[in-house]
C-alpha cells in the first residue's frame, strides 16, 4: 500500500511540468554583439537568446555589406520550485565585407503564436590598417578577448652593426576560430636589417592570455644590422581563417537532419578568408663599431670567442707539410670570422686554409674550424709562431685580441731537396678550399718552363674556334650537304613508293621524243614516215598504259578499248592502211593528225 502511494507521488512529480506548461513565462528575446567596433578583416559574434519557449523561428534579414554565418544553437531548461522556463540561444558570426557603420535592424522571432523582435544594434567596422593600428597597440602589451591573431616579438635593444641579435617571434592564433595551416613563416619588413632564415617547422604550444586560449607558433632567429641607424622593423604573416558558410535559418527541433554544424564541416561548408597578421612596429637601433683600438687583423667578428690552435704532426722533415688546426668557438657572427693570418715569414710556406663551420643548437653559438697546411723551409725552426684573432666584445664594448701559444715542433733536415710539386702534392691531402689569402710567394716560383723565344702570331682578339669564319663555313657546308642528301633521298623514296609517277615520267619523256620526230617528219612532208611514226608512238604509249607489249597492239584492240570515233583510232587506222599500201598525206592533214595525236596522247598521260 505504501509502495503504491510512493509510485503515485513519483508520477505526479514527473507530470508536474506538463501541468505547469500553461503557466510558463512570457516569451522574450535579447540580441547582443561581442564587439561594437572591429576591423574589416575580423568578425563579431551575434547572440540571440529567446526565453520562454522551446522552439522559435528566427527571421534573419539580409544586410548589405554583412554576411551572417550560423554557428549553432543551444537550449536551456530550468525548473525552479516547480516553475518551468526554457531558453534558446542562436549564435551567428558577422563577417563584414567593407568598413562602415552598420545597424542590424530588429529581428523577428516567431515562437508559437507569438512574434517578438530584438532591439536594433549599431556597430562600426574599421579599415584593416586602422584596425591593425589599434590592435597593434593592444597586441604589443595586452591582447584582448577579441584578438583573432597577432604577433609578439622579444625586446630589441641598441646593438652594433654586424652584431648577431637573438630574437624570438611568436604568432598567436585564437583557438575560438578555425585556421588553415600557414604556408610560410613570418616575413621581415625592414631596411638595413637582415634576418637569418626562419624554420618551416616552428615550435607549437598553447598559451592563455587574459582568459583567451591561443595556439602559438614560435620561431627563434637572429637579426643583424648592416648599416648604422634606427631601423623600423615589422613582421608579417599570411594566415587563413576558416569561416562557416551561411546556412538557412534553423528550427530547433524540426527541419532537415542536416541542419547540424557537423555537416557544415563534413560537406566542406567552410569559407577561406585570408588575413595578414602583423607585429607591432619595433625599432632596431644599430651603431658603428668604434674606430678607437681597432686591431689591424680585425675582420668584423662581434661576440665572444675562444681560439685554439693545434698542429699535427709535430716532427717532420724540411718540405713536409704540417696541418695546422685553428678552432674559433663561441657566440657571435661567425660569417665574419676568418682564419687568423699566419705571420709572413720566409721560414714557412703556407697554403690557403679550408673552413668548416658547425653551429650548435642554441644559435648564435658555434664553432668554426680552419685547417691550413704549412711547410717548414729549414731545419732550424723550433716552433710554429703564435697566431692572433681579434673580435669586438659588445658586452665589454671593446676589441679583444686572443693569441695562441707557439707550438714546439722538430724539423729534421731532408736528404734530398723537395721540389715544389712534391710538397704541393703532399699538402693537397689537406684538401684546402681557399677562403683566406695564403702568404704570397714574392720570391718567384721555381720550376717554371723557360721563356718562349718566338712571339708567334698576333691576333686582334681571342675568340673561340666556333666563331671563326672557316669553322662557320665548314659547318654551313656540312649542313647544306646533309639537307641535300636528305631531300634527294626523300625524292627517291617518294618515287619508289609511287611507281606510277615514274611510269608517267617515262611516258612523258617518250612522248616528247616521239613528238619531235613527228614534227620533223611533218616538216619534211614525208607522209609515210609520219604515219609510221604515229603508229609507233600510239603503240608505245598505249602499251605502257595497258601494261602490254606495244607492238602487239592492233587496230581492233584500240577500237575495243577506245571506240571507233577517237582521233587515235582514226590516225592508227590511216597508219595501218599506209603500212600495207601507199598513202599520201597533205601537209594540212599531217598537221591535223599531229595536233590530234598530241592532244589525245597527252590526255592519256
Amino acid at each position: 500500500m505504501e509502495q503504491r502511494k510512493f509510485s503515485a507521488l513519483f508520477i505526479c512529480l514527473l507530470l508536474l511540468p506538463l501541468f505547469s506548461l500553461p503557466a510558463r513565462a512570457e516569451v522574450s528575446v535579447e540580441a547582443s554583439l561581442s564587439s561594437h567596433s572591429f576591423p574589416v578583416d575580423s568578425a563579431a559574434k551575434l547572440t540571440i537568446t529567446v526565453t520562454g519557449t522551446r522552439s522559435a523561428e528566427i527571421k534573419m534579414k539580409e544586410i548589405d555589406g554583412l554576411q551572417f554565418h550560423s554557428q549553432g544553437q543551444s537550449s536551456r531548461i530550468n525548473i525552479i520550485n516547480g516553475s518551468y522556463s526554457s531558453a534558446i540561444s542562436n549564435l551567428y558570426l558577422i563577417q563584414p565585407l567593407q568598413p562602415g557603420t552598420y545597424t542590424i535592424p530588429p529581428i523577428s522571432i516567431i515562437a508559437g503564436k507569438e512574434t517578438v523582435q530584438t532591439e536594433p544594434i549599431t556597430f562600426e567596422v574599421t579599415a584593416i590598417g586602422q584596425g591593425h593600428q589599434s590592435s597593434k597597440q593592444n597586441k604589443s602589451t595586452s591582447p584582448g578577448e577579441n584578438d583573432v591573431a597577432f604577433i609578439l616579438v622579444s625586446e630589441i635593444d641598441r646593438h652594433y652593426t654586424g652584431e648577431i641579435v637573438p630574437l624570438r617571434i611568436k604568432a598567436y592564433f585564437n583557438r575560438k576560430y578555425q585556421w588553415a595551416p600557414i604556408s610560410s613563416p613570418p616575413a621581415l619588413k625592414a631596411d638595413g636589417v637582415v634576418m637569418s632564415p626562419l624554420s618551416n617547422e616552428p615550435e607549437q604550444s598553447q598559451e592563455q592570455l587574459k582568459g583567451v586560449i591561443y595556439h602559438v607558433l614560435s620561431w627563434n632567429t637572429t637579426l643583424s644590422g648592416i648599416k648604422a641607424g634606427r631601423h623600423p622593423v615589422l613582421f608579417e604573416l599570411d594566415a587563413t581563417l576558416l569561416l562557416r558558410q551561411q546556412q538557412r535559418s534553423r528550427s530547433p527541433f524540426g527541419g532537415s537532419p542536416f541542419n547540424d554544424s557537423f555537416f557544415d564541416n563534413f560537406f566542406g561548408g567552410l569559407q577561406r578568408k585570408p588575413i595578414q597578421v602583423t607585429s607591432p612596429e619595433l625599432h632596431f637601433e644599430t651603431i658603428e663599431l668604434p674606430d678607437k683600438g681597432r686591431p689591424e687583423n680585425f675582420t668584423g667578428a662581434i661576440g665572444d670567442f675562444q681560439l685554439t690552435v693545434s698542429a699535427s704532426p709535430k716532427e717532420v722533415e724540411v718540405g713536409e707539410p704540417i696541418t695546422l688546426t685553428l678552432e674559433i668557438a663561441g657566440k657571435g657572427n661567425f660569417d665574419r670570422v676568418e682564419a687568423p693570418l699566419f705571420p709572413a715569414t720566409p721560414d714557412w710556406k703556407t697554403y690557403s686554409p679550408n673552413t668548416d663551420y658547425s653551429s650548435q643548437d642554441t644559435y648564435p653559438f658555434g664553432k668554426k674550424q680552419f685547417e691550413q697546411a704549412i711547410v717548414a723551409k729549414n731545419s732550424s725552426l723550433k716552433q710554429i709562431p703564435s697566431l692572433s684573432f681579434s673580435y669586438f666584445d659588445p658586452g665589454k664594448e671593446s676589441y679583444i685580441t686572443v693569441t695562441s701559444a707557439p707550438i714546439a715542433v722538430r724539423i729534421a733536415e731532408h736528404d734530398s731537396p723537395v721540389s715544389p710539386q712534391q710538397s704541393t702534392q703532399t699538402a693537397t691531402a689537406v684538401k684546402p678550399q681557399s677562403v683566406q689569402p695564403a702568404a704570397e710567394a714574392v720570391d718567384g716560383i721555381k720550376g717554371l718552363a723557360p721563356l718562349h723565344l718566338e712571339t708567334g702570331t698576333f691576333y686582334q682578339s681571342i675568340m673561340p674556334l666556333y666563331k671563326k669564319t672557316w669553322f662557320l663555313a665548314g659547318v654551313g657546308c656540312c649542313i647544306l650537304l646533309l639537307l641535300f642528301t636528305f631531300f634527294f633521298r626523300l625524292r627517291i623514296r617518294n618515287l619508289e613508293k609511287h611507281p606510277e609517277l615514274q611510269l608517267q615520267k617515262r611516258r612523258q619523256e617518250l612522248l616528247a621524243g616521239d613528238l619531235v620526230k613527228l614534227s620533223q617528219a611533218k616538216d619534211s612532208g614525208d607522209g609515210s614516215l609520219f604515219l609510221a611514226l604515229c603508229r609507233q608512238s600510239i603503240q608505245k604509249q598505249l602499251g605502257l598504259l595497258w601494261q602490254v607489249e606495244g607492238s602487239a597492239i592492233s587496230l581492233a584492240d584500240i577500237k575495243n578499248k577506245l571506240g571507233d570515233t577517237t582521233n587515235l583510232t582514226e590516225i592508227f587506222a590511216a597508219a595501218e592502211q599506209a603500212a600495207y599500201g601507199t598513202s599520201e598525206l597533205s601537209p594540212e592533214t599531217m598537221q591535223v593528225y599531229f595536233e590530234g595525236l598530241k592532244k589525245e596522247l597527252e590526255d592519256l598521260i
Binding site: 675582420t299 690557403s352 717554371l448 682578339s461
Partner: protein, 256 residues
C-alpha cells in the same frame, strides 16, 4: 717597254704597302727580345712592362702572353700570371709549357680546384677547341657518308649504324663544347686581399676573402661591383677593379 717599267713599279708598291707591317713586326721582335733579356737579368717587373706594351700595341700572341705570365709569376703577382697563362692557353690550347706553368703556379699558390663530378672530369678531358673540332669532324663525316650513300649502295643496316654513331658522337662533342664554353670566359682575381661581399657596396658585410688568381664567373654588374661565382662555387659581390676578364673585348690593330 711596258714590262720593263711595270716591274720596278710593282716592287715599289709592294714596298710601300708592306714596309710599315715589316717595320712593326721587326719592332715587335726587338721589344720581345728586349723583354726576354730583361727577364733573364732578373728584372721581372721591367720585362712584364715590355710584354704588356707589346700586347697593348700589337695584340695577343701565345709567346708574348706566356712570357708575360712568367714575368708576373716570378714577381709574385699570381693573379696577373694566371690571367695571362689562361689567355695564352686559349691561343695555344695544346702548349704543354703553358699548361705546366699554369698548373705549377696554381699549386704553388694553393689554388686548388673543387672536387669535380665524373661527368665534369670527362668533359675536361678535351678543351673547347678540341671538342669543337671533333664535333665539326663528325658532322663532316656524317654528311660525307650520307652523300656517299647516294652513290654507293650501302645496306640499310650499315647506313643506320654509321649515321647513328656519327650523330651520337656529334651530340657528345657538342655537349662537351657547350660545357667547356661555360668555362671559356672567366675572369681572374688580380688584386690581393679581395673580399666577397653580401651586397654591392663597399661597406657591405664580407662573406669571405677570395684569393688572388681565383677564376670567377661574373653574372651581373651593379655600380662598381660584379656578382660572381668562383671556381669553388662560392658566390658574392666583388669590386670590378679586383677582377680582369680573360677574354678582353677591345679593338686592336691587327698585325699578322
Amino acid at each position: 717597254m711596258k714590262l720593263t717599267v711595270s716591274h720596278p713599279l710593282l716592287l715599289l708598291l709592294f714596298i710601300i704597302f708592306h714596309a710599315p707591317a715589316v717595320a712593326v713586326a721587326q719592332g715587335n721582335q726587338e721589344l720581345f727580345e728586349q723583354g726576354n733579356e730583361t727577364y733573364s737579368k732578373g728584372d721581372f717587373s721591367g720585362a712584364a712592362q715590355m710584354y704588356e706594351q707589346l700586347t697593348t700595341t700589337s695584340g695577343y700572341s701565345a709567346g708574348v702572353l706566356f712570357n708575360l705570365a712568367n714575368s708576373y709569376a716570378q714577381s709574385g703577382q699570381t693573379g696577373k700570371a694566371i690571367l695571362n697563362y689562361e689567355r695564352a692557353l686559349r691561343l695555344a690550347p695544346s702548349d704543354s709549357d703553358i699548361q705546366g706553368n699554369l698548373e705549377l703556379i696554381r699549386k704553388e699558390s694553393g689554388l686548388f680546384p673543387r672536387e669535380y663530378s665524373w661527368s665534369e672530369r670527362f668533359f675536361q678531358l678535351l678543351d673547347l677547341t678540341q671538342w669543337t673540332i671533333s664535333a665539326l669532324f663528325l658532322l663532316l663525316l656524317l654528311s660525307t657518308f650520307q652523300l656517299a650513300s647516294l652513290k654507293f649502295p650501302f645496306s640499310s643496316r650499315t647506313r643506320q649504324l654509321v649515321s647513328t654513331a656519327c650523330f651520337m658522337l656529334f651530340i657528345l662533342c657538342a655537349t662537351g663544347a657547350f660545357f667547356r664554353h661555360k668555362q671559356w670566359q672567366p675572369s681572374v682575381v688580380t688584386e690581393s686581399e679581395s673580399r666577397l661581399l653580401l651586397s654591392p657596396f663597399s661597406s657591405a658585410a664580407s662573406t669571405s676573402s677570395i684569393q688572388q688568381g681565383r677564376l670567377v664567373y661574373p653574372e651581373k654588374t651593379h655600380g662598381g661591383f660584379n656578382y660572381i661565382t668562383d671556381e669553388t662555387g662560392r658566390r658574392g659581390w666583388i669590386a670590378s677593379s679586383a677582377i680582369e676578364p680573360v677574354i678582353e673585348i677591345k679593338n686592336r690593330v691587327s698585325i699578322q
